[in-house]
């Protein structure tokens, strides 16, 4: 990596790369959505469903698990919103090694 060129950037994890499409494709939104749906289902099950106290030892497990899942879901949505993902505009091709049979890189048609 030729790190010297980018010494101006303050944060190698996120700001090294130029801002590009944030995109709908942020895994945190996926995690938030799935856990949120689970949270809703479990909370409803906890309130209306069979509480199965004999199995859980007298705690409404679905309700508590559902509420915790909703909290975690909110955390992921919030995080994705506060610090959106940045996709690098250009990735250095890894084919500059003379010992490697180099592929001819052609831009791929979409």
């Amino acid at each position: 990596m030729s790190d010297q060129h980018r010494l101006g950037a303050p944060d190698p994890d996120e700001k090294r790369v130029r801002r590009h499409t944030a995109g709908a494709f942020d895994i945190r939104n996926f995690i938030g959505a799935l856990l949120g749906l689970y949270g809703v289902i479990l909370t409803l099950m906890g309130i209306f469903g069979d509480k199965a106290y004999d199995k859980t030892g007298n705690i409404d497990a679905n309700l508590y698990a559902g509420l915790v899942l909703l909290l975690i879901s909110a955390f992921f949505f919030g995080w994705a919103r506060i610090k959106p993902i940045i996709v690098p505009e250009h990735v250095e091709p890894a084919d500059e090694d003379p010992t490697r049979p180099a592929p001819r890189r052609r831009p791929r048609r979409r």
Binding site: P12, F25, I27, P101
Partner: protein
Amino acid sequence: MHALAGLPTADTLISANAVDYVIIALYFVFVLGIGVMARRAVSDSIDFFLSGRSLPAWVTGLAFISANLGAVEIMGMSANGAELGISTVHYFWVGAIPAMLFLGVVMMPFYYGSKVRSVPEFMFRRFGTGAHLVNALSFALAQLLIAGVNLYLLGSIVHALLGWPLWLALLVAAAIVLSYITLGGLSAAIYNEVLQFFVIVAALLPLTLIGLNRVGGVQGLKDRLTEFAASAPASAGVPPAEQQLSSWPGQALSGFESPFWSVVGIVFGLGFVLSFGYWTTNFVEVQRAMASNSMSAARKTPIIGSFAKMFVPFIVIVPGMIAAVLVKEIGELKAGGSPPGGASGEGVKYNDSLLLLMRDILPNGLLGVAIAGLLAAFMAGMAANISAFNTVFSYDLWQRYIRKDHSDDYYLRIGRLATVGATVIAVFTAVIASSFSNVMDYLQSLFGFFNAPLFATFILGMFWKRMTATAGWVGLSAGTLSAVLVAFLSEDAFGSASLGVIPVGGQGAAFIAASAAFVVDIALSVVVSLFTRPKPASELRGLVYSETPREDLVDLEEIRLPWYRRTLPLAGISLGLVIVLNFLF
């Protein structure tokens, strides 16, 4: 899924209801959705195979853990927990964390900095064709085998839980894994692994907490385990309570009778040779780090992963221990009985601990989440194997030895075809595994022996510029052979094929075999190097420590980050935490 009721279905182990099915179905919608979304981002082969090197460290770090948190890990470690108790944690705290930290601190700069696309490719550049072929072929074969085993376990769980016939479960699971990897490549695999990680935690954490509630908390669990160990018949061989409740000296795990040798065996055999061989050279894991967006993120990948890894035992091993005192069948099994039933239908095994515990303590709803979590884990394992396989197959075998110099599009296509091929082979492997499960176990331990000497060759090659190409392949082959030899001489590493000349069985035999491989590899590599010609120093930049400028090995921008986001402080905290955990338990 009730629409499949027309098929001949067996009695299910667990009675899931409509809500559970909705939860499971939702999970699969998300898995495929990620594949479709990742499809849009894949534009060339680097995107497909290395995720364009664009992922942040927390994503690759969790994927690093998830890739390993497959069927074998979850079922196997909870089974060990039920059978042996808390000393199973050594697989995590001794057998994983130190090696993961070492990978991040010491070895990752070479992997990421040299811009290789796979671990075998590093082998090629350091040692040339011989060592590369040994490494690439054994790795590719092992991945196919393990993918098959993961798929078989997945299929058998679906069979046990939902009552689908095994062949249908195998095909559906394979089709799902295939579709999201061919669509989105490594990005899809990694993103799914991160999602899977959270679903697995959402599945296992409530199971653990409710289980603890049922047995009366931690103290209740201890009391009941102590009572159980005292009352079990001597013939059952139940480890005494103090061995089940304290991780050291861990005789129950190592199989050594002497506490001293047990500690030595665990620290050197498991902690040093076996785990370093696995965690620092296994491309399935390293590939996750290679997909990250900077040297700093690549190095932090295994270190961030280590924080998750050190707490996994609490939601995997503890439920196993709870199952041993709470689930009637597991208790009978542990007391020397052979209760009928189980996931296989051929009698309850320790591997069934988690499933039976889920059956006994989870209400519908959480049960669906738990099943989704298990399915997630099994698919994560298989997807990781297959995505690592297609990279090594396309870059290291096809491109290097069969068709050089084609366009990038061509290798992208080969990668997708390799994924299809690997999935088809995995289905057949799974079918074979369903009828010859012992053979598969021995094959897995056989491939494990290819890992043992790898670490020796890598570490010597990275720090000793004099080491030659010949020494590379000679050391690797001789190390592997000596591990296999020791396994044959031990009591039971290869089952009845082992001769029993060395009076150690179980995990102890694996420790000794791996140690032999390490010592033989180092010794032979040094001797051979002294008699052969080393590579010129100019070719070793980025590959050997003394020939690589320091700025190639560290991320110069990292000093600008706050301390808690830098590699070394994070590694230090992780190491400190794991030492504290070892004292606590």
